[in-house]
Protein backbone atom coordinates (compact mmCIF):
# COMPACT_ATOMS: atom_id res chain seq x y z
CA UNK A 1 0.00 0.00 0.00
CA UNK A 2 1.16 3.50 -0.81
CA UNK A 3 1.68 5.77 2.17
CA UNK A 4 2.30 9.44 2.77
CA UNK A 5 4.62 9.80 5.73
CA UNK A 6 7.19 12.03 7.33
CA UNK A 7 10.25 9.83 7.52
CA UNK A 8 13.10 10.57 9.89
CA UNK A 9 16.54 11.28 8.51
CA UNK A 10 19.06 8.94 10.15
CA UNK A 11 22.01 10.17 8.10
CA UNK A 12 22.67 12.11 4.92
CA UNK A 13 26.14 12.38 3.47
CA UNK A 14 28.07 12.89 0.26
CA UNK A 15 29.42 9.67 -1.27
CA UNK A 16 30.68 10.97 -4.62
CA UNK A 17 30.78 14.22 -6.59
CA UNK A 18 27.42 15.97 -6.05
CA UNK A 19 26.04 12.60 -4.97
CA UNK A 20 24.47 11.89 -1.57
CA UNK A 21 23.26 8.87 0.34
CA UNK A 22 20.36 9.41 2.70
CA UNK A 23 19.14 6.87 5.23
CA UNK A 24 15.50 7.24 6.24
CA UNK A 25 13.37 5.52 8.82
CA UNK A 26 9.61 5.04 9.05
CA UNK A 27 6.68 2.67 8.68
CA UNK A 28 6.43 3.31 4.97
CA UNK A 29 9.46 1.08 4.50
CA UNK A 30 7.35 -1.95 5.47
CA UNK A 31 5.35 -1.46 2.30
CA UNK A 32 8.31 -1.88 -0.04
CA UNK A 33 8.02 -5.25 -1.70
CA UNK A 34 10.56 -5.20 -4.51
CA UNK A 35 13.83 -3.61 -5.53
CA UNK A 36 13.24 -1.02 -8.26
CA UNK A 37 10.31 0.71 -6.63
CA UNK A 38 10.64 4.43 -6.04
CA UNK A 39 9.47 7.12 -3.66
CA UNK A 40 8.20 10.63 -4.39
CA UNK A 41 9.82 13.32 -2.24
CA UNK A 42 8.34 16.66 -1.25
CA UNK A 43 10.79 19.54 -1.31
CA UNK A 44 10.68 21.63 1.87
CA UNK A 45 7.14 22.65 2.84
CA UNK A 46 6.10 22.29 -0.77
CA UNK A 47 5.00 25.92 -1.07
CA UNK A 48 7.44 27.02 -3.72
CA UNK A 49 8.18 23.56 -5.12
CA UNK A 50 4.83 22.11 -6.10
CA UNK A 51 6.09 18.89 -7.70
CA UNK A 52 7.61 16.00 -5.81
CA UNK A 53 10.92 14.41 -6.89
CA UNK A 54 10.97 10.73 -7.84
CA UNK A 55 13.92 8.80 -6.38
CA UNK A 56 14.60 5.08 -6.56
CA UNK A 57 14.96 3.03 -3.43
CA UNK A 58 18.61 1.97 -3.36
CA UNK A 59 18.17 -0.52 -0.52
CA UNK A 60 15.76 -1.26 2.29
CA UNK A 61 15.64 -3.12 5.54
CA UNK A 62 12.24 -4.21 6.80
CA UNK A 63 13.55 -5.15 10.22
CA UNK A 64 14.90 -1.71 10.88
CA UNK A 65 12.18 0.12 8.91
CA UNK A 66 14.97 1.87 7.08
CA UNK A 67 15.72 2.59 3.46
CA UNK A 68 18.53 4.26 1.58
CA UNK A 69 18.23 6.64 -1.35
CA UNK A 70 21.17 7.79 -3.43
CA UNK A 71 20.74 11.00 -5.33
CA UNK A 72 22.70 13.37 -7.47
CA UNK A 73 22.03 17.07 -6.92
CA UNK A 74 20.96 18.49 -10.26
CA UNK A 75 18.69 21.36 -9.27
CA UNK A 76 17.16 23.32 -6.41
CA UNK A 77 15.06 20.47 -5.06
CA UNK A 78 17.74 17.88 -4.43
CA UNK A 79 20.07 20.65 -3.33
CA UNK A 80 17.61 21.42 -0.56
CA UNK A 81 17.52 17.74 0.32
CA UNK A 82 21.30 17.53 0.52
CA UNK A 83 21.17 19.96 3.43
CA UNK A 84 19.02 17.77 5.65
CA UNK A 85 20.64 16.28 8.69
CA UNK A 86 20.01 13.66 11.34
CA UNK A 87 16.66 14.05 13.03
CA UNK A 88 15.10 16.17 10.29
CA UNK A 89 11.98 14.84 8.69
CA UNK A 90 11.20 14.30 5.03
CA UNK A 91 7.75 14.11 3.47
CA UNK A 92 7.67 10.93 1.38
CA UNK A 93 4.99 9.33 -0.79
CA UNK A 94 5.54 5.69 -1.61
CA UNK A 95 6.49 3.07 -2.33
CA UNK A 96 5.47 3.64 -5.96
CA UNK A 97 5.77 1.51 -9.07
CA UNK A 98 6.27 -2.19 -9.46
CA UNK A 99 10.00 -2.69 -9.34
CA UNK A 100 12.02 -5.60 -10.66
CA UNK A 101 10.46 -9.05 -10.83
CA UNK A 102 13.06 -11.39 -9.36
CA UNK A 103 10.86 -14.01 -7.74
CA UNK A 104 11.20 -16.61 -10.51
CA UNK A 105 14.94 -16.41 -11.00
CA UNK A 106 17.02 -19.24 -9.57
CA UNK A 107 20.47 -20.36 -10.63
CA UNK A 108 20.63 -18.00 -13.56
CA UNK A 109 23.52 -15.99 -14.93
CA UNK A 110 22.24 -12.44 -14.79
CA UNK A 111 23.62 -9.21 -16.17
CA UNK A 112 22.82 -5.96 -14.34
CA UNK A 113 23.64 -2.75 -16.17
CA UNK A 114 23.56 0.73 -14.66
CA UNK A 115 24.54 4.22 -15.65
CA UNK A 116 24.91 7.28 -13.43
CA UNK A 117 21.88 7.97 -11.26
CA UNK A 118 20.39 4.79 -12.70
CA UNK A 119 22.76 2.77 -10.54
CA UNK A 120 21.01 3.14 -7.12
CA UNK A 121 18.01 0.81 -7.59
CA UNK A 122 20.32 -1.86 -8.99
CA UNK A 123 22.02 -2.25 -5.65
CA UNK A 124 18.94 -3.64 -3.90
CA UNK A 125 18.33 -5.67 -7.04
CA UNK A 126 21.80 -7.24 -6.91
CA UNK A 127 21.35 -7.95 -3.22
CA UNK A 128 18.18 -9.87 -3.96
CA UNK A 129 19.34 -11.62 -7.11
CA UNK A 130 22.62 -12.72 -5.61
CA UNK A 131 20.83 -14.87 -3.08
CA UNK A 132 19.99 -17.44 -5.76
CA UNK A 133 21.82 -16.38 -8.88
CA UNK A 134 25.17 -15.51 -10.35
CA UNK A 135 25.19 -11.77 -10.96
CA UNK A 136 27.50 -9.57 -13.03
CA UNK A 137 27.07 -5.82 -12.63
CA UNK A 138 28.36 -3.43 -15.27
CA UNK A 139 28.26 0.14 -14.03
CA UNK A 140 29.02 3.25 -16.04
CA UNK A 141 29.96 6.64 -14.60
CA UNK A 142 31.19 9.86 -16.16
CA UNK A 143 34.47 9.85 -14.30
CA UNK A 144 36.22 8.57 -11.20
CA UNK A 145 34.80 11.34 -9.02
CA UNK A 146 31.25 10.19 -9.67
CA UNK A 147 31.68 6.57 -8.70
CA UNK A 148 29.81 5.30 -5.67
CA UNK A 149 28.95 1.94 -4.10
CA UNK A 150 31.70 0.05 -5.93
CA UNK A 151 32.50 -2.07 -2.86
CA UNK A 152 28.87 -2.63 -2.01
CA UNK A 153 28.27 -3.98 -5.51
CA UNK A 154 31.42 -6.12 -5.32
CA UNK A 155 30.02 -7.78 -2.21
CA UNK A 156 27.00 -9.06 -4.10
CA UNK A 157 28.14 -9.36 -7.71
CA UNK A 158 31.04 -9.46 -10.16
CA UNK A 159 31.38 -5.76 -10.73
CA UNK A 160 32.89 -4.06 -13.76
CA UNK A 161 33.19 -0.31 -14.05
CA UNK A 162 33.40 1.95 -17.07
CA UNK A 163 34.05 5.68 -17.03
CA UNK A 164 33.49 7.95 -20.01
CA UNK A 165 36.84 9.61 -19.55
CA UNK A 166 38.79 6.51 -18.54
CA UNK A 167 39.73 7.97 -15.17
CA UNK A 168 38.80 4.64 -13.52
CA UNK A 169 37.98 1.13 -14.78
CA UNK A 170 37.54 0.69 -18.49
CA UNK A 171 37.34 3.82 -20.65
CA UNK A 172 34.08 4.03 -22.54
CA UNK A 173 30.48 3.00 -22.12
CA UNK A 174 28.82 0.08 -20.43
CA UNK A 175 28.06 -1.27 -23.89
CA UNK A 176 31.81 -1.53 -24.57
CA UNK A 177 32.24 -3.73 -21.53
CA UNK A 178 29.24 -5.85 -22.42
CA UNK A 179 30.70 -6.51 -25.90
CA UNK A 180 33.76 -8.00 -24.26
CA UNK A 181 31.80 -10.29 -21.92
CA UNK A 182 31.39 -13.73 -23.44
CA UNK A 183 29.25 -15.20 -20.71
CA UNK A 184 25.90 -16.74 -21.52
CA UNK A 185 23.53 -14.54 -19.62
CA UNK A 186 19.88 -15.47 -19.63
CA UNK A 187 18.45 -12.22 -18.37
CA UNK A 188 19.49 -8.62 -18.01
CA UNK A 189 18.28 -5.66 -15.96
CA UNK A 190 19.20 -2.10 -16.82
CA UNK A 191 18.65 1.36 -15.44
CA UNK A 192 20.21 4.59 -16.62
CA UNK A 193 19.92 7.40 -19.14
CA UNK A 194 17.66 6.84 -22.13
CA UNK A 195 20.56 6.67 -24.59
CA UNK A 196 22.15 3.92 -22.54
CA UNK A 197 18.94 1.94 -22.23
CA UNK A 198 18.33 2.26 -25.92
CA UNK A 199 21.85 1.06 -26.80
CA UNK A 200 21.54 -1.85 -24.37
CA UNK A 201 18.11 -2.78 -25.73
CA UNK A 202 19.67 -2.99 -29.23
CA UNK A 203 22.76 -4.81 -28.14
CA UNK A 204 21.02 -7.45 -26.04
CA UNK A 205 17.86 -7.95 -28.03
CA UNK A 206 18.33 -11.72 -28.00
CA UNK A 207 18.10 -11.74 -24.17
CA UNK A 208 15.18 -11.43 -21.82
CA UNK A 209 15.63 -7.90 -20.58
CA UNK A 210 14.07 -5.47 -18.14
CA UNK A 211 14.53 -1.73 -18.37
CA UNK A 212 13.83 0.82 -15.66
CA UNK A 213 12.87 4.11 -17.25
CA UNK A 214 12.86 7.73 -16.05
CA UNK A 215 10.40 10.39 -17.10
CA UNK A 216 9.34 13.76 -15.65
CA UNK A 217 6.45 13.11 -13.31
CA UNK A 218 3.47 14.86 -11.86
CA UNK A 219 1.44 12.68 -9.52
CA UNK A 220 3.65 9.57 -9.48
CA UNK A 221 0.58 7.36 -9.01
CA UNK A 222 -0.89 7.07 -12.49
CA UNK A 223 -3.49 9.81 -12.39
CA UNK A 224 -2.10 12.69 -14.43
CA UNK A 225 -0.71 11.10 -17.62
CA UNK A 226 2.54 13.10 -17.37
CA UNK A 227 4.90 10.13 -17.62
CA UNK A 228 3.55 8.24 -20.57
CA UNK A 229 5.61 6.33 -23.18
CA UNK A 230 4.45 4.59 -26.32
CA UNK A 231 4.35 0.83 -25.86
CA UNK A 232 3.49 -2.37 -27.67
CA UNK A 233 0.36 -3.23 -25.74
CA UNK A 234 -3.43 -2.87 -26.06
CA UNK A 235 -3.54 0.72 -24.94
CA UNK A 236 -0.57 1.73 -27.04
CA UNK A 237 1.14 3.32 -24.04
CA UNK A 238 2.37 2.76 -20.53
CA UNK A 239 2.56 5.08 -17.54
CA UNK A 240 6.07 4.89 -16.14
CA UNK A 241 4.99 5.61 -12.58
CA UNK A 242 2.16 3.10 -12.44
CA UNK A 243 2.91 0.40 -15.01
CA UNK A 244 6.67 0.68 -14.48
CA UNK A 245 9.18 2.06 -13.90
CA UNK A 246 10.46 -1.41 -14.97
CA UNK A 247 9.33 -2.81 -18.31
CA UNK A 248 10.17 -5.82 -20.40
CA UNK A 249 12.47 -4.67 -23.16
CA UNK A 250 10.02 -5.82 -25.83
CA UNK A 251 7.18 -3.73 -24.42
CA UNK A 252 8.52 -0.19 -24.59
CA UNK A 253 9.72 2.01 -27.43
CA UNK A 254 12.74 4.07 -26.42
Amino acid sequence: MKKLEHLTVISNQPIALDTYEILLEGDLVQQINRPGQFVHIQISEGDYHKLRRPLSIASYNHNKSQMTLIYKVVGDGLNWMSQLSEGDSLNVLGPLGNGFETENLFGEKILVIGGGVGVPPLYALCQHLSEHNDVTAVLGYQSRAQIFYENQFKDVSDTLIATNDGSYGQKGFVTDIITDLNDDFTTYFACGPLEMLSAVQQQLQYLDGYLSIEERMGCGIGACFACVREAHNDKGYVKICQDGPVFHSSEVTL
Binding site: L4, D47, A223, Q242
Partner: protein, 302 residues
Protein backbone atom coordinates in the same frame (compact mmCIF):
# COMPACT_ATOMS: atom_id res chain seq x y z
CA UNK B 1 -21.63 21.80 10.07
CA UNK B 2 -23.86 21.31 7.07
CA UNK B 3 -21.67 21.71 3.98
CA UNK B 4 -24.32 20.92 1.38
CA UNK B 5 -24.35 23.08 -1.72
CA UNK B 6 -26.74 23.29 -4.60
CA UNK B 7 -25.06 23.73 -7.92
CA UNK B 8 -27.61 24.45 -10.61
CA UNK B 9 -29.87 21.56 -9.66
CA UNK B 10 -27.03 19.32 -8.58
CA UNK B 11 -26.80 18.79 -4.83
CA UNK B 12 -23.35 18.16 -3.38
CA UNK B 13 -22.74 17.05 0.20
CA UNK B 14 -19.81 19.46 0.34
CA UNK B 15 -18.31 22.04 -2.02
CA UNK B 16 -15.03 20.22 -2.67
CA UNK B 17 -14.15 18.18 -5.74
CA UNK B 18 -10.97 17.24 -7.59
CA UNK B 19 -10.61 19.07 -10.90
CA UNK B 20 -10.50 17.52 -14.31
CA UNK B 21 -7.21 16.02 -15.41
CA UNK B 22 -5.78 15.93 -11.91
CA UNK B 23 -7.64 12.87 -10.63
CA UNK B 24 -7.71 10.50 -13.62
CA UNK B 25 -10.96 8.53 -13.37
CA UNK B 26 -10.70 8.26 -9.60
CA UNK B 27 -9.25 4.76 -9.42
CA UNK B 28 -5.78 5.72 -8.17
CA UNK B 29 -7.10 8.02 -5.45
CA UNK B 30 -9.54 5.38 -4.23
CA UNK B 31 -6.46 3.59 -2.87
CA UNK B 32 -5.91 6.56 -0.55
CA UNK B 33 -9.41 7.34 0.75
CA UNK B 34 -13.07 6.66 0.23
CA UNK B 35 -14.27 8.64 -2.78
CA UNK B 36 -17.72 8.83 -1.16
CA UNK B 37 -16.31 11.65 0.94
CA UNK B 38 -15.99 13.98 -2.04
CA UNK B 39 -18.51 16.62 -3.02
CA UNK B 40 -18.19 15.48 -6.63
CA UNK B 41 -15.62 13.94 -8.95
CA UNK B 42 -14.67 15.67 -12.16
CA UNK B 43 -13.16 13.10 -14.47
CA UNK B 44 -10.49 13.52 -17.12
CA UNK B 45 -11.44 15.10 -20.41
CA UNK B 46 -13.14 12.82 -22.91
CA UNK B 47 -12.83 13.28 -26.68
CA UNK B 48 -14.59 11.48 -29.53
CA UNK B 49 -11.71 9.19 -30.40
CA UNK B 50 -8.82 8.08 -28.29
CA UNK B 51 -5.89 10.48 -28.12
CA UNK B 52 -2.31 9.73 -27.26
CA UNK B 53 -1.53 13.30 -26.28
CA UNK B 54 1.74 15.19 -26.55
CA UNK B 55 5.34 14.07 -26.56
CA UNK B 56 7.05 14.02 -23.15
CA UNK B 57 8.21 15.88 -21.07
CA UNK B 58 4.68 16.96 -20.38
CA UNK B 59 5.15 18.67 -17.02
CA UNK B 60 7.56 21.20 -15.55
CA UNK B 61 7.79 22.89 -12.20
CA UNK B 62 7.54 26.69 -11.95
CA UNK B 63 7.58 29.02 -8.91
CA UNK B 64 4.59 27.94 -6.81
CA UNK B 65 3.09 26.31 -9.85
CA UNK B 66 3.55 23.91 -12.70
CA UNK B 67 3.12 23.69 -16.44
CA UNK B 68 1.40 20.78 -18.13
CA UNK B 69 0.85 19.80 -21.71
CA UNK B 70 -0.73 16.38 -21.39
CA UNK B 71 -2.58 16.97 -24.65
CA UNK B 72 -5.92 15.52 -23.64
CA UNK B 73 -4.68 11.95 -23.61
CA UNK B 74 -7.70 9.71 -23.08
CA UNK B 75 -9.09 6.43 -24.40
CA UNK B 76 -12.03 8.10 -26.17
CA UNK B 77 -15.59 8.50 -24.95
CA UNK B 78 -16.73 4.95 -25.74
CA UNK B 79 -13.90 3.32 -23.83
CA UNK B 80 -14.45 5.71 -20.93
CA UNK B 81 -18.09 4.68 -20.77
CA UNK B 82 -17.19 1.02 -21.01
CA UNK B 83 -14.07 0.81 -18.86
CA UNK B 84 -14.00 3.75 -16.47
CA UNK B 85 -17.52 4.79 -15.52
CA UNK B 86 -18.53 1.37 -14.12
CA UNK B 87 -15.86 1.75 -11.46
CA UNK B 88 -17.36 5.05 -10.35
CA UNK B 89 -20.86 3.56 -10.03
CA UNK B 90 -20.02 2.06 -6.66
CA UNK B 91 -19.81 5.55 -5.13
CA UNK B 92 -22.72 7.83 -4.41
CA UNK B 93 -20.58 10.85 -5.27
CA UNK B 94 -21.87 12.70 -8.33
CA UNK B 95 -19.61 12.44 -11.37
CA UNK B 96 -19.08 15.50 -13.54
CA UNK B 97 -17.79 14.50 -16.96
CA UNK B 98 -15.35 16.85 -18.68
CA UNK B 99 -15.66 17.11 -22.46
CA UNK B 100 -13.12 18.38 -24.99
CA UNK B 101 -12.84 18.42 -28.76
CA UNK B 102 -11.40 19.94 -31.88
CA UNK B 103 -14.73 20.63 -33.54
CA UNK B 104 -18.17 21.62 -32.42
CA UNK B 105 -19.57 18.28 -33.60
CA UNK B 106 -17.13 16.40 -31.42
CA UNK B 107 -18.26 18.26 -28.30
CA UNK B 108 -21.88 17.55 -29.15
CA UNK B 109 -21.31 13.86 -29.80
CA UNK B 110 -19.24 13.30 -26.67
CA UNK B 111 -21.64 15.25 -24.47
CA UNK B 112 -24.63 13.36 -25.77
CA UNK B 113 -23.02 10.01 -25.00
CA UNK B 114 -21.82 10.98 -21.54
CA UNK B 115 -24.99 12.79 -20.49
CA UNK B 116 -26.87 9.58 -21.21
CA UNK B 117 -24.92 7.72 -18.53
CA UNK B 118 -26.71 7.35 -15.24
CA UNK B 119 -23.55 7.85 -13.15
CA UNK B 120 -22.81 11.16 -14.87
CA UNK B 121 -24.71 13.91 -13.09
CA UNK B 122 -23.41 16.94 -14.96
CA UNK B 123 -21.24 17.87 -17.92
CA UNK B 124 -18.34 20.32 -17.91
CA UNK B 125 -17.13 21.47 -21.31
CA UNK B 126 -13.56 22.58 -21.60
CA UNK B 127 -13.63 25.38 -24.13
CA UNK B 128 -9.89 26.08 -23.96
CA UNK B 129 -9.33 23.68 -26.85
CA UNK B 130 -8.27 24.96 -30.25
CA UNK B 131 -10.98 24.75 -32.90
CA UNK B 132 -9.39 23.09 -35.92
CA UNK B 133 -12.06 24.34 -38.28
CA UNK B 134 -11.40 27.94 -37.27
CA UNK B 135 -7.68 27.58 -37.80
CA UNK B 136 -6.79 26.75 -34.23
CA UNK B 137 -8.40 29.70 -32.46
CA UNK B 138 -9.62 28.57 -29.07
CA UNK B 139 -13.37 28.17 -28.58
CA UNK B 140 -12.95 29.92 -25.26
CA UNK B 141 -11.38 33.12 -26.53
CA UNK B 142 -14.12 34.23 -28.89
CA UNK B 143 -17.59 35.01 -27.51
CA UNK B 144 -19.33 33.98 -30.74
CA UNK B 145 -17.60 30.62 -30.92
CA UNK B 146 -18.21 30.08 -27.22
CA UNK B 147 -21.88 30.96 -27.64
CA UNK B 148 -22.41 28.57 -30.55
CA UNK B 149 -20.61 25.74 -28.85
CA UNK B 150 -22.56 26.12 -25.62
CA UNK B 151 -25.87 26.42 -27.42
CA UNK B 152 -25.33 23.31 -29.53
CA UNK B 153 -24.02 21.25 -26.65
CA UNK B 154 -26.85 22.31 -24.35
CA UNK B 155 -29.36 20.97 -26.92
CA UNK B 156 -28.15 17.43 -26.28
CA UNK B 157 -27.47 17.86 -22.60
CA UNK B 158 -30.48 17.44 -20.32
CA UNK B 159 -28.22 17.50 -17.27
CA UNK B 160 -26.58 20.61 -15.77
CA UNK B 161 -24.00 21.99 -18.20
CA UNK B 162 -20.96 23.77 -16.83
CA UNK B 163 -18.72 25.71 -19.18
CA UNK B 164 -15.08 25.87 -18.15
CA UNK B 165 -13.63 29.22 -19.07
CA UNK B 166 -10.12 29.98 -20.26
CA UNK B 167 -8.30 32.80 -18.44
CA UNK B 168 -6.21 33.61 -21.53
CA UNK B 169 -8.55 36.37 -22.60
CA UNK B 170 -8.71 40.14 -22.48
CA UNK B 171 -12.15 40.20 -20.93
CA UNK B 172 -13.53 37.07 -19.31
CA UNK B 173 -16.87 38.72 -18.60
CA UNK B 174 -17.83 38.81 -22.27
CA UNK B 175 -17.19 35.08 -22.61
CA UNK B 176 -19.07 34.35 -19.40
CA UNK B 177 -21.99 36.40 -20.62
CA UNK B 178 -22.00 34.69 -24.01
CA UNK B 179 -22.14 31.19 -22.56
CA UNK B 180 -24.77 32.19 -20.03
CA UNK B 181 -26.96 33.57 -22.81
CA UNK B 182 -26.38 30.39 -24.78
CA UNK B 183 -27.86 28.35 -21.95
CA UNK B 184 -25.01 27.28 -19.67
CA UNK B 185 -26.22 26.13 -16.26
CA UNK B 186 -22.97 27.04 -14.55
CA UNK B 187 -19.39 28.15 -15.00
CA UNK B 188 -16.09 26.53 -14.05
CA UNK B 189 -13.20 28.90 -13.74
CA UNK B 190 -10.38 29.03 -14.31
CA UNK B 191 -8.52 26.74 -16.62
CA UNK B 192 -4.75 27.13 -16.94
CA UNK B 193 -2.85 30.16 -18.25
CA UNK B 194 -0.52 29.51 -21.15
CA UNK B 195 3.12 29.56 -20.08
CA UNK B 196 6.56 28.36 -21.01
CA UNK B 197 9.80 27.34 -19.37
CA UNK B 198 13.14 27.12 -21.14
CA UNK B 199 15.76 24.57 -20.09
CA UNK B 200 19.11 26.35 -19.84
CA UNK B 201 21.04 23.14 -20.53
CA UNK B 202 19.30 22.25 -23.79
CA UNK B 203 18.29 25.84 -24.57
CA UNK B 204 14.93 24.50 -25.62
CA UNK B 205 11.48 24.67 -24.04
CA UNK B 206 11.35 22.15 -21.24
CA UNK B 207 7.89 20.96 -22.24
CA UNK B 208 8.12 19.08 -25.56
CA UNK B 209 4.97 20.84 -26.73
CA UNK B 210 6.81 24.16 -26.06
CA UNK B 211 3.97 25.81 -24.14
CA UNK B 212 1.93 24.34 -21.31
CA UNK B 213 -0.86 25.34 -18.99
CA UNK B 214 0.18 27.11 -15.79
CA UNK B 215 -1.64 25.94 -12.66
CA UNK B 216 -1.09 26.00 -8.91
CA UNK B 217 -0.99 28.76 -6.26
CA UNK B 218 0.89 31.09 -8.63
CA UNK B 219 -2.35 31.71 -10.56
CA UNK B 220 -4.68 32.01 -7.57
CA UNK B 221 -4.83 35.85 -7.60
CA UNK B 222 -5.88 35.74 -11.26
CA UNK B 223 -8.57 33.14 -10.57
CA UNK B 224 -9.93 35.15 -7.64
CA UNK B 225 -10.02 38.33 -9.74
CA UNK B 226 -11.84 36.65 -12.62
CA UNK B 227 -14.42 34.91 -10.43
CA UNK B 228 -15.07 38.15 -8.58
CA UNK B 229 -15.50 39.97 -11.90
CA UNK B 230 -17.89 37.40 -13.31
CA UNK B 231 -19.85 37.05 -10.06
CA UNK B 232 -20.82 40.71 -10.28
CA UNK B 233 -22.73 40.05 -13.49
CA UNK B 234 -24.29 36.64 -13.00
CA UNK B 235 -26.13 34.43 -10.53
CA UNK B 236 -25.06 31.22 -12.28
CA UNK B 237 -23.30 28.76 -10.00
CA UNK B 238 -19.53 28.94 -10.31
CA UNK B 239 -17.09 26.12 -9.59
CA UNK B 240 -13.90 27.96 -8.64
CA UNK B 241 -10.39 26.62 -9.11
CA UNK B 242 -6.82 27.71 -9.58
CA UNK B 243 -4.21 27.09 -6.94
CA UNK B 244 -6.34 25.82 -4.10
CA UNK B 245 -4.40 23.89 -1.49
CA UNK B 246 -5.75 25.03 1.89
CA UNK B 247 -9.14 25.60 3.50
CA UNK B 248 -8.27 29.32 3.64
CA UNK B 249 -7.94 29.25 -0.14
CA UNK B 250 -11.39 27.66 -0.37
CA UNK B 251 -12.98 30.39 1.73
CA UNK B 252 -11.24 33.01 -0.40
CA UNK B 253 -12.79 31.46 -3.53
CA UNK B 254 -16.22 31.32 -1.90
CA UNK B 255 -15.91 34.98 -0.86
CA UNK B 256 -14.93 35.88 -4.41
CA UNK B 257 -18.19 34.35 -5.57
CA UNK B 258 -17.62 30.65 -6.20
CA UNK B 259 -20.30 28.22 -5.02
CA UNK B 260 -18.05 25.18 -4.98
CA UNK B 261 -14.37 24.58 -5.63
CA UNK B 262 -12.18 22.17 -7.51
CA UNK B 263 -8.67 21.17 -6.51
CA UNK B 264 -6.16 20.31 -9.22
CA UNK B 265 -2.39 20.53 -8.88
CA UNK B 266 -2.47 20.07 -5.10
CA UNK B 267 -3.53 16.42 -5.55
CA UNK B 268 -0.08 15.67 -6.95
CA UNK B 269 1.70 16.92 -3.88
CA UNK B 270 -0.72 15.34 -1.44
CA UNK B 271 -3.06 12.63 -2.70
CA UNK B 272 -5.12 13.05 0.46
CA UNK B 273 -5.62 16.78 -0.07
CA UNK B 274 -9.32 16.73 -0.98
CA UNK B 275 -10.15 14.50 1.98
CA UNK B 276 -8.12 16.72 4.32
CA UNK B 277 -9.79 19.88 3.04
CA UNK B 278 -13.24 18.40 3.55
CA UNK B 279 -12.33 17.38 7.11
CA UNK B 280 -10.84 20.75 7.99
CA UNK B 281 -13.29 23.10 6.29
CA UNK B 282 -15.82 23.38 9.16
CA UNK B 283 -13.12 24.32 11.65
CA UNK B 284 -11.63 26.94 9.37
CA UNK B 285 -15.05 28.38 8.64
CA UNK B 286 -15.61 28.75 12.37
CA UNK B 287 -12.22 30.33 12.84
CA UNK B 288 -13.29 33.14 10.53
CA UNK B 289 -16.67 33.47 12.18
CA UNK B 290 -18.87 31.53 9.78
CA UNK B 291 -21.49 29.16 11.18
CA UNK B 292 -22.53 27.86 7.76
CA UNK B 293 -21.70 27.97 4.09
CA UNK B 294 -24.68 30.21 3.52
CA UNK B 295 -23.09 32.81 5.75
CA UNK B 296 -20.07 32.80 3.48
CA UNK B 297 -22.33 33.20 0.49
CA UNK B 298 -23.94 36.15 2.24
CA UNK B 299 -20.52 37.72 2.73
CA UNK B 300 -19.49 37.51 -0.92
CA UNK B 301 -17.27 40.47 -1.63
CA UNK B 302 -19.15 42.94 -3.78
Amino acid sequence: MNLTVNLGGLTLQNPIMPSSGCFGFGREFSEFYDLNELGAIVIKAATGDKRFGNTTPRVAETPSGMLNAIGLQNPGVDQIIEKELPFLQQFHTPVIANVAGSQLEEYVEVTEKLAAQQVVKAIEINISCPNVQEGGIQFGTDPTLAYDLTEQVKKVCPKPLFVKLSPNVTDITTIAQAVEEAGADGLSMINTLTGMKIDLHTQQPLIANETGGLSGPAIKPIAIRMIHQVRSQTTLPIIGMGGISTTEDIIEFLLAGANAVAVGTANFQNPFVCQNLIDELPETLEKYGFQSLDEVKGAVTS
